[in-house]
Symmetry: C7
Subunit: 97 residues, 7 copies
């Protein structure tokens, strides 16, 4: 399946934070525990039009790991898998690891 | 009947997701079960006017399969059949299958 | 009486949907049953001004049969008859029959 | 008293609808019965400024009989008489009789 | 004390309407009875800036008697005396007596 | 400590009104009694950017005594002292004494 | 970890105010006691686009100590540490010490 977002939409795959206990055991946070704020960009739109009729290109690219507003993106289910759809304004920062 | 949407309106035919059980039986979701988020574009408007008096053409075309905001489009009944009418802003992405 | 709407106003005469029973009897829907979403355009305004001081002409004309938002237009009573007054934004599509 | 409205303000004198019974007796509606939607224009402002610093002239003139939004105009009492003050946007149409 | 309003602010001294009884006795309305809608302009600001960086001059001048929106202006107390501060948009008309 | 406000922010030191009794005793109003509407400008920002990318300079200067909207400015505590931070829009007038 | 904020976003590390008792003992305020209004800038975005398609650069820089609106910035947790993410509009002033 090939997904082409419109305008300034960004499709994201949520990244679950892992919790490491003192004894070193890694406990992945469940999706239920807390809404994620971190995700990997799967696809981006071509940007909105400005008043001159030109596209404003997005500042994030496919593959970027980003932080986003906790309650900004909407959840969408495609083929039984959950994704997040954000407006570019919901993206706070790109993490370069 | 020939339908010509105005401005940035998009008429959609909802596509119901099918649910396949483990044993392979396909159970189509009923319309009542959950509002659809997927549809086929039946007709699109010529676009809104920008400040220069030019139409901003839509990014979706007749026949496109699209994902849209769950509570974005309005329902409208024409000749006893239910359709969805969306603003272009309600369309999240085009699915190319 | 001659009615000249202002700006982007559209005066509409509601069209009541008819219900045909299986035995072929036509039962017109009463106005009380449900708000109409279909109407005939009686008169249109000259359009709003854009930022350059020019009128933006309307996309519907007198005589057009149109679909509109259920709760968009206001009701107005002139000489004991009910009409609907819509902004052009309330009009979803023109039906060409 | 000479009244000069500012910007896009329109001063209106409400016109009460008359009710004619079957026997031909004319019963004027009281102001209490229902808010009027019809009025005579008493005075209009010079129009708002657009972004270029020019006045946008109003589309109604002194003496026009107009239809307006039921709850659009504000009531104002001058010398013990009630008037309505509308923004031009509250005016729906001019009636030419 | 010299007061210089900013932007599109208008300082007003409320004018209380007088009530004349049938026998000719004049009863001034108390401020408590009803909020005034009439006032004398004490001072006006130089106007807001438009997008070109120019001031939009106000349409009322010091000394004008004006009608204003009942709940538009704010009350302010200076040296134990009550004044009203309005945005120019709160002023409905100038009364020329 | 040197404080540099951003954009159109104005830092203010509230001025408490004094109450003089008939016998001449001056009773300063406590801060609790009523929110102040008068203050001295401590520092002003360089102004917001307009659409052309130029700063719109503020109309108040350090040292000005100003009247402001009662509930406009926010309170901020710096080094155990309370200040008010206003947007320029919250300032109603400059008092020249 | 390298963090690149988007648009006009500012990442902040909250600075806790210290309370010094009369006897000279310094008691740092706990985070629970009151939301901070002071912070150190960790990273800033490249600025929003204006209508001409140019970035509006931010007025704060990495390392600046700033005052901000109490309830403006959002909290975000990265690697078990709490940060604040503000829009530039939430920043009130830069403190030069």
């Amino acid at each position: 399946m090939n997904l082409k977002p419109l305008a300034n939409r960004v499709f994201l795959e949520p990244i679950e934070e892992e919790t490491t206990t003192k004894s070193g055991i890694v406990i992945p946070e469940t999706v239920d525990k807390e809404r994620p704020q971190k995700g990997r960009v799967l696809a981006v739109g071509p940007g909105r039009f400005n008043e001159k009729g030109e596209r404003i290109p997005l500042s994030v690219r496919e593959g970027d790991v980003v932080l986003f507003k906790k309650y900004g993106p909407d959840e969408i289910e495609i083929d039984k898998k959950k994704y997040l759809v954000a407006d570019e304004d919901d993206i706070l920062a790109v993490i370069e690891e």
